[in-house]
């Protein structure tokens, strides 16, 4: 092969890699560019603090940020114990076949589209929650958190199961030889050894929880208020972006959604940095 073709190919590969990496930078730039008017106007502080009320000229996204934090937190709160329990079940407690079945089920869950989760939830979960609270439409923080937990559960379970399975076998054999029961092995050997993987899985799931749009869009109620309880409707940053775009086109509140985008971008960067610190990416690349 001629070396000119070689050089061309190498340049082509480099170009593709640069293109891909620069997409991230472009996204950041566009968000910044479009939010500039708000920065210039000095309104950024009140933007982050006040409530949203277009008629009064208030474009604050605080209710949405609180909504995001609350719904995501609850989802993680629900999903974590379930995740740990299921992973323990798959890797430690159950016989091979049941464990394999459960794992296959969880893998199957990763293929379920978010929109399908939400759609079914509207007709299955929401009426149920409505009954429980005896008020409201059932579209509230609780419904959204439950479905979100279901959505992020596969991430947690698969990550944790991999982390559990990558504990060096000699530790487990040593514990076994000393007469440890499965539970003891889990608590004293597996979890301490795999804690990095566990935290990584949780951080990753948190990222997914914050970044999800459809579940909160379709079942959290989208009310422009700071939720005070589980039965309150709420709106997340992600749902907010979707709603504003769907409604107006060149209106003033438009520019505010790009600041929301900026916030989400910064959040993603923080998650990536956190995962780096935990060594997640090294592990992933080694696999």
């Amino acid at each position: 092969m001629k070396s000119s073709i070689e050089k061309l190919a190498e340049k082509g590969f480099l170009f593709s890699a640069l293109l891909s990496a620069s997409i991230t930078i472009f996204i950041l730039s566009f968000m910044f560019l479009f939010s500039l008017p708000l920065f210039r106007g000095g309104k950024i502080v009140e933007f982050l603090r006040l409530g949203w009320n277009p008629y009064e000229g208030k474009f604050g996204v605080l209710p949405m940020m609180v909504g995001t934090v609350i719904i995501a937190s609850f989802a993680i709160l629900i999903a974590t114990p379930f995740g740990i329990g299921c992973s323990a079940l798959i890797s430690v407690f159950s016989q091979r076949n049941f464990g394999r079945f459960l794992r296959k089920l969880v893998e199957f869950m990763t293929g379920i589209p978010t929109v399908v989760y939400s759609f079914v939830a509207i007709f299955l979960l929401v009426p149920l929650v409505r009954e429980i609270f005896q008020k409201g439409t059932g579209m509230c923080v609780l419904s959204a958190s439950i479905m979100l937990a279901l959505l992020i559960l596969p991430t947690i379970v698969l990550f944790l199961t991999d982390a559990f399975n990558s504990v060096p076998k000699n530790y487990l054999n040593a514990a076994e030889a000393l007469g440890a029961t499965p539970v003891q092995k889990l608590i004293y050997v597996i979890i301490p050894s795999a804690w990095k993987g566990i935290i990584s899985g949780l951080v990753l799931a948190a990222g997914r929880a914050v970044g999800d749009t459809l579940i909160s869009l379709m079942i959290a109620g989208n009310a422009l208020q700071i939720p005070k309880g589980l039965s309150d409707a709420a709106r997340t940053l992600t749902a907010h972006i979707a709603l504003i775009i769907a409604s107006d086109y060149e209106s003033p509140e438009f520019k505010s959604i790009f600041v929301c985008g900026l916030i989400l971008f910064v959040f993603t960067m923080l998650i990536v940095l956190a995962l780096r610190l935990l060594g997640y990416f090294e592990i992933l690349r080694e696999r």
Partner: protein
């Protein structure tokens, strides 16, 4: 730790497992129960005859056909962008990249992988505004923008799988070709890529699945409720996930709702099929590695 606590932990794990199985079981059975009755040709083609619809002689106004067509066309165009750029980037990162620059590339690509889909959609939307203002008045969020945005969304999947599979090769495979006098490019094209084809394809299939199910990106970049089959790349279009979303908040009759369930089943079927296929290919690769010296 006393026996009781241990027992409790075990029971707790089992309970979580059972609840999970139960939840998914309920979800699926409900979906099937509601959706299967709706699965018939008229759900897809409405009042138009299937033949006329497929030959594009008549438009389908009350069936899923435009949405299905839209989704299929969207997937095809998105991966046409994503595959070359993704595989080439993966090759660069695995084979040519200096370890000096790698952390930067990896960081940027990891952020891209982690960005919420709505943000990618917002980006696509921002681009369409930009083009609208600076290039041509006729540009609005459309099919082209959607497919580009989706390509950006799934690019990290393809890059990661390609890079990882090439990077995880045993030393002997990496060097055999070179030892025989192959140039770097020949080694990549004739040995490394063919050897890893299953892995790379599994990443591509994953990307296809992601394109099929995504809603957030397309709702901001051109998917609408009623548009028929897209006639040009600059036109708006329908897609299955958007249909499902739209129907959930705006259905006029039980029949329409049933179509929503039917559409959900179809989308679920497509996605599960693709994800399973991807996993099978991944497993095939793992087996081959285990038996290679």
């Amino acid at each position: 730790m006393n026996r009781l606590t241990e027992y409790g932990i075990t029971i707790f794990s089992w309970i979580t497992g059972i609840i999970l199985i139960g939840a998914i079981g309920v979800l699926l059975s409900f979906l099937l129960y509601k959706g299967i009755p709706a699965l018939n040709p008229s759900m897809i083609f409405g009042e138009t005859s299937p033949l006329d619809a497929l030959l594009l002689k008549k438009a389908v106004v009350d069936g899923l056909f435009p949405a299905i067509a839209g989704t299929i066309l969207l997937i095809i165009t998105s991966i046409i962008w994503a595959i070359p750029v993704g595989v080439a980037s993966g090759i660069y990162l695995a084979e040519y990249c200096d370890s000096k620059w790698k952390p930067i590339f990896n960081f940027l690509l990891d952020v891209l992988a982690g960005i919420p889909s709505i943000l990618v959609g917002l980006f696509g939307f921002a681009i369409s505004i930009f083009l609208h203002r600076h290039l041509s008045e006729h540009i609005y969020p459309c099919f082209l923008i959607s497919s580009l945005a989706l390509a950006c969304l799934v690019l990290p999947y393809i890059i990661r799988t390609t890079e990882q599979s090439l990077g995880n090769l045993p030393f002997s495979i990496k060097t055999t070709g070179l030892a025989l006098g192959a140039s770097r490019l020949q080694n990549i094209l004739f040995i490394l890529i063919p050897y890893n084809l299953s892995s790379i394809i599994s990443g591509i299939i994953l990307a296809i699945g992601r394109c099929a199910e995504d809603t957030a990106v397309i709702m901001l970049t051109g998917a609408v409720a009623m548009a028929g089959i897209p006639t040009s790349v600059l036109s708006q279009y329908e897609a299955i996930p958007f249909y499902i979303f739209y129907i959930s908040s705006d259905y006029n009759s039980q029949e329409e709702l049933m179509k929503g369930f039917g559409a959900s089943i179809i989308l679920l079927g497509i996605c599960v099929f693709l994800f399973t296929l991807s996993n099978i290919l991944k497993r095939k690769v793992a087996i081959r590695f285990a038996t290679h010296t």
